[in-house]
Symmetry: C2
Subunit: 104 residues, 2 copies
DNA sequence: TTTTCATATAGTTAAATTGCTATATAGCTA
DNA sequence: TAGCTATATAGCAATTTAACTATATGAAAA
C-alpha cells in the first residue's frame, strides 16, 4: 500500500482552494444553491454554472477544475438536457479519508 | 472553519510523492534506517542525508522538500553536532487527519 | 584558528498549474 | 432542419514547482 498513486492524485486535486470550495459547497446543495428545474439538487447534483459563479473564475477555468475533481474520482457528473450537474462521490471520499488516515 | 488556509497548506505539502515517501519512512525510523551515532532515531529523528538518499534527489532539492514539510508543520527538525534530524509531528498529523475528515 | 563537512541559499531551466479569450462541439428546442 | 446555448477545447501568458549545479554559511574537529 506504499506510495499509493491514487491517493497522490486525490491530494493534488484537493490542494487548491477553488476545488476545496466546490467540495464544501456540494456538501449542502439545497442550502447553498437555489432550486433547479432540469436536475434534482440531491440526485443529480449542482449545475456547473452555479459552481462556476461561486468559484469566481471564467467558465473554461471552472470546467477544468471540475474535470480535475472528476478524474480524481471525488465528484460525479450527470448530463441532462444540455446541462452538467455535479455531486460528491461520498463513497470515494470516504474511502480516501480512510486511506489518508492509514497512510499519512 | 470554511476554507481553512492551514489545511490547504498541509495538502499542498502532501501532494507530492517524494514528500509522502518521507512521511512514510519516518513512521518507522528503526526499521527503515541504520543506527545513528549523533542523534537518536526515535527521539531526534532521521538524518537528512539518509532521507535525501531515499528520495533519490540532489541535496538542495531534498532540503527544500524537508523545508516544505517543516513549514506545513508535519515534521520537526532537530539540530545536533552539525546534522539535522527529522521526525514526524504526530500531534500535528493527527490534528490534520481530524480536520481532513471533518472538512473534506 | 583553520579546515572540513553538513546544510542552506542563489541562480537557472523545464514542466506543471492556473488563469484568460476565442472558438468549437453537441444537443435541446423551436 | 436551424438556431441557441451550455460545455469543452485550443491556445496563450503568468506563476509555481521541482530539479539541477555552484557556492555560501556555520558549526564541529583538528
Amino acid at each position: 500500500m506504499k506510495n499509493d498513486p491514487h491517493m497522490e492524485k486525490a491530494l493534488k486535486a484537493l490542494a487548491n482552494d477553488k476545488r476545496l470550495l466546490v467540495l464544501e459547497l456540494l456538501k449542502d446543495p439545497v442550502g447553498n444553491f437555489p432550486p433547479q428545474v432540469d436536475g434534482d439538487l440531491i440526485e443529480d447534483g449542482v449545475c456547473s454554472n452555479w459552481l462556476t459563479e461561486k468559484m469566481g473564475v471564467a467558465q473554461p477555468t471552472a470546467t477544468r477544475h471540475l474535470k480535475v475533481l472528476t478524474e480524481a474520482g471525488l465528484i460525479i457528473p450527470t448530463r441532462k438536457k444540455g446541462w452538467v450537474f455535479y455531486r460528491r462521490d461520498e463513497a470515494a471520499i470516504g474511502a480516501l479519508k480512510k486511506l489518508f488516515c492509514e497512510e499519512v
